[in-house]
Subunit: 75 residues, 6 copies
């Protein structure tokens, strides 16, 4: 993946940090499944699947731990 | 998501921190499934599914780690 | 949830800390499924389901990490 | 559970720490399913189920993180 | 596995760290299933399976925690 | 388990640390299923199961966190 998409873990606010955590979760999927078409098709399915949504939130929570630590918890 | 919903990880008590962890878990779902209608429909299903409830509690536990660390464990 | 149920993460012993971790795991479920009747019904099912019991133990382990850190590992 | 079974996280060696992590994983199950008879029955099933064995190893890994930190990584 | 494939956790940028996290996730699979042929066959299946993609992203998130800490969060 | 198999978490290189993480993941299984015959039988099955391979990589990632911290991230 030649694009630059992550230059820093520092964000201005906790909410921006949370949104970066979501981006990391999605990029973790994208590196394994690079086709936007396939990912869009899958999203329409798992967006209605409670188990998949909870599992997604788990990935976000894990990435948010990393980002929160990087930002000194925005204290 | 234009709304501001997370300005700090600091809470007055551990219980408020736990409740913020629950909010983060739900927001992790909401960013993937923005429709309140769909989320409500799903909740009525997984609220009676032990596996989904345990998985939800896992996401809360992970977010609570982050929040507890941010608050110096309320010591 | 108006009740106060968590005022501190500090416990006298590691075992009390582990028992608090179990309480947090259960509260993580309770916030999503507030009905004691439904939770009791589910428990009688997943109490005989190895996968659910192992997943529960995973939630406890995650919460115990938080509580152990809060207590300086009771050293 | 009135018995005292956990008085310290400190162990003499990493291996004893790993074995304590296994004990914590099992106690996480026991608090939810107190019947030894039911647990023994379940173990004979999931002991032949790769998914359950891997999930068990995940719980042990999480508890071992806690115990290793408590022991300063036995350095 | 006689090859040398991991000599440092230090990377120049967060993105390179994320890409190393992906490599670690894949190596965690490779040590269990050394056959490239089998792994390629499996990838074509789970690349279209939302649950497997989310689970993969979870492994990457966990490895990224380690690498981010090793790099002092690239601050 | 009377054998001594883990005397230190310190390794010379990150790669040796990763390989130790794999050993810990396998030992987490072995303590629950001591029969080498059963484990070999299971491995031939889950080695072709993407979900199980990803779950295994998750356990390795968790153990690698512990070992990397123990080694000061080999800096």
């Amino acid at each position: 993946m030649a694009d630059t998409w992550l230059t820093t873990l520092i964000t201005a606010t906790p909410q921006e940090g949370f949104e970066l955590a979501i981006k990391l979760a999605r990029m973790g999927v994208k590196y394994t499944q690079p086709s936007a078409e396939v990912r869009d098709k899958l999203r329409s399915v798992y967006g209605e699947d409670a188990d998949a949504l909870i599992a997604s939130s788990q990935v976000v929570a894990t990435n948010f731990q990393t980002i929160a630590a990087a930002n000194g918890y925005w204290k």
